[in-house]
């Protein structure tokens, strides 16, 4: 254990817990941005600088904007309704389920003997080799992801656009 990891872990978990429990959607969204930043820090700490920057750009820069858009476009629902009985039951069951999952995962992690190599120096993957990987053996995957992005964007436009007869646009 070292101090840097502990700080990063704390940042990640605290922001996530707060985001999950806050009633205000805006607050939740902003706290999630913190959470994603924490993850980016983790990548940096682990030596994957490129991934860290990608995480920061995509999540912190783009997806957070999307979330904010969604929140603003549906702002009549900005505040959560008061907790009802049925909702409380759901919260309790959700916490119980999450705890069970965590228990199982933790047991599995702790009981598994893992061969590790802590001596591996950080920053061992160079931008050059990564680029060669992506444009060489993984080129097909890169292309497919490109197609997937295009198609999903088009699908999103179709879904979000108003109906053909222009009945009602987005508020």
């Amino acid at each position: 254990m070292n101090l840097t990891f502990a700080l990063i872990a704390f940042l990640i978990l605290a922001s996530a817990v707060l985001a999950a429990t806050r009633r205000d959607l805006i607050h939740s969204a902003l706290l999630l941005v913190g959470n994603w930043l924490g993850v980016a820090f983790f990548y940096l700490w682990a030596g994957a600088e490129f991934v860290a920057f990608a995480q920061a750009l995509v999540y912190v820069g783009a997806i957070s904007m999307v979330v904010l858009f969604a929140v603003l476009l549906t702002r009549r629902m900005r505040t959560e309704l008061p907790l009802l009985v049925a909702t409380r039951d759901r919260v309790v069951s959700a916490v119980l389920g999450g705890a069970a999952v965590f228990g199982v995962l933790a047991v599995a992690v702790l009981r598994t003997p893992l061969d590790t190599n802590p001596a591996k120096p950080a920053g061992s993957v160079s931008m050059l080799s990564l680029g060669q990987q992506l444009m060489g053996p993984q080129a097909a995957a890169v292309l497919i992801v490109g197609v997937l992005l295009t198609v999903s964007l088009l699908g999103a436009v179709v879904l979000a656009s108003s109906d053909a007869d222009g009945k009602e646009g987005a508020p």
Binding site: A48, F50, V67, M77, L105, V109, L149, P171
Partner: protein, 104 residues
């Protein structure tokens, strides 16, 4: 407990927080954010295993996988934004438990 296990426990915890969020909140945006958290937890695992794997294994597989995952997450985000807007337009709110049209 070594560093890898610590990383994995962190990832597990993050995953469970995301799960609880997705299960408990009724706002569709928050449910989707919970799912986003779970995705991040999975990405954490990739990097952890890549970082602490024994020498001689594939050099950058974990990193590349995470890159693709982030790309797919971006596409997913675009789609869920559209879904949320369509849902809102359809039922004038975004409470997920009310979107039960397709029940059996």
């Amino acid at each position: 407990m070594n560093m890898l296990q610590a990383c994995l426990l962190l990832s597990s915890a993050l995953f469970c927080i995301g799960l609880v969020t997705a299960l408990s909140r009724s706002n569709t945006i928050l449910v989707l954010l919970g799912i986003e958290i779970m995705l991040n937890a999975a990405n954490l695992n990739f990097i952890a295993f890549w970082r602490f794997s024994p020498a001689g294994s594939a050099p950058a597989t974990g990193v590349i996988f995470v890159l693709f995952s982030i790309a797919v997450a971006a596409a997913e985000a675009a789609v869920w934004l559209a879904l949320v807007i369509a849902l809102y337009r359809h039922q004038q709110n975004i409470r997920l438990q009310e979107a039960t049209r397709l029940k059996g």
